[in-house]
Symmetry: C2
Subunit: 212 residues, 2 copies
């Protein structure tokens, strides 16, 4: 009798059930790859039949997409800068929250960023939208004396590429302590913004306010 007993079956209303399933999906897909999660496991954890699970999500793919969407919303929330802090502190705290989040959801993050369920258009759209929100926020939070430009946005897209590439490498190989990664990200953000300003004569920025 080594098989664990399934969760007891409990009647929940539609919204509560959906929310419960989303919580389970978030947990499973953010700590496992897509292929490693089975429909049976999801249903067993929720204490419902596979049939009822399919009633909420017609396929494993749709359940995964909903999970990625929930994870993206959660990530955006944890890196939301605290308006009470100074600009450099906001940046530092957000970067720390990002590193902590991806560390606690390493398996799912790696699987998603390394291909996940591949070239799924909907998943890609969620990832792209999340990046756009983070970039919008980063730009809005810069002490700009001028309007933001397309070149600044391009540099911020590159910055997100930098953060994702270093985070992935760090999660997979852990070649440096967490504190070093955080410091590298903080320093690099400042200089990446500086390089964009340098390459675009129509940008003016109070870099001291950011770095101080």
């Amino acid at each position: 009798m080594s098989t664990p007993a399934p969760a007891p079956r409990v009647r929940l209303d539609l919204d509560a059930r959906r929310e419960q399933l989303m919580r389970i999906g978030l947990e499973l897909f953010s700590t496992n790859s897509y292929d490693a999660v089975s429909i049976d496991e999801i249903a067993a954890r929720a204490g419902i039949s596979k049939g009822l699970l399919y009633h909420y999500f017609p396929s494993k793919r749709e359940f995964y997409v909903a999970g990625v969407r929930a994870a993206a919303a959660q990530l955006r929330e944890v890196v939301e800068p605290d308006p009470e802090l100074s600009p450099p502190e906001r940046l530092r705290v957000s970067l720390e929250a990002y590193v902590d989040y991806v560390e606690h959801h390493a398996e799912g993050y790696i699987a998603l960023m390394r291909g996940g369920i591949g070239s799924d258009a909907e998943v890609r759209e969620i990832v792209e939208e999340s990046r756009a929100v983070i970039i919008d926020r980063a730009i809005a939070d810069l002490p700009l004396k001028t309007e933001p430009t397309t070149l600044l946005r391009l540099a911020m897209e590159g910055w997100v590429g930098y953060v994702e590439a270093t985070s992935l490498s760090w999660l997979e190989r852990r070649t440096v302590p967490r504190e070093r990664l955080r410091e590298l990200l903080f320093n690099t953000f400042l200089v990446v913004v500086g390089a964009a300003v340098q390459a675009d004569p129509s940008l003016e920025l109070d870099l001291a306010a950011l770095g101080g």
Copy 2:
């Protein structure tokens, strides 16, 4: 009679045929997405039967993988720095060659980097290996006064993420002129290296030699 006549069938020896197919694959897959290329088209271009094509490459996937491998080798070759140039010139010329290459192979580059044939392990390995070669070279070319460190490597991995993210965005949206992108990449490389040196007390670098 609007269908173009197929290429005449010519007997080629094994190596020449393989080379011809690779050339065709490189052209097709670097300017089209995976799904847009058909086995029929490849065979017609080469002037051979589908049967003979399958003799060289058992599946479209294997043909694609060989094409990605050839493209990766070509990209590494065109960005290989000219040892006769000064360090800043080497960097500038390599970055220009990179931007030119991805521009001329935009469709294939976008398809590959946005997922391509998805989470194919072999494709991912080729991409990863190419990145590693470029990072090795970039590190070897830095005017370091000390041994390179794991933090420097992490920063260079981030740099490649920056270049890929900006290149993809630029190819898809062309929000700035090519010259602006090149200048942004050049400036950013220098400061990214600077930020790594700043975050790692055991690194010492002759930054003036690089930026001058």
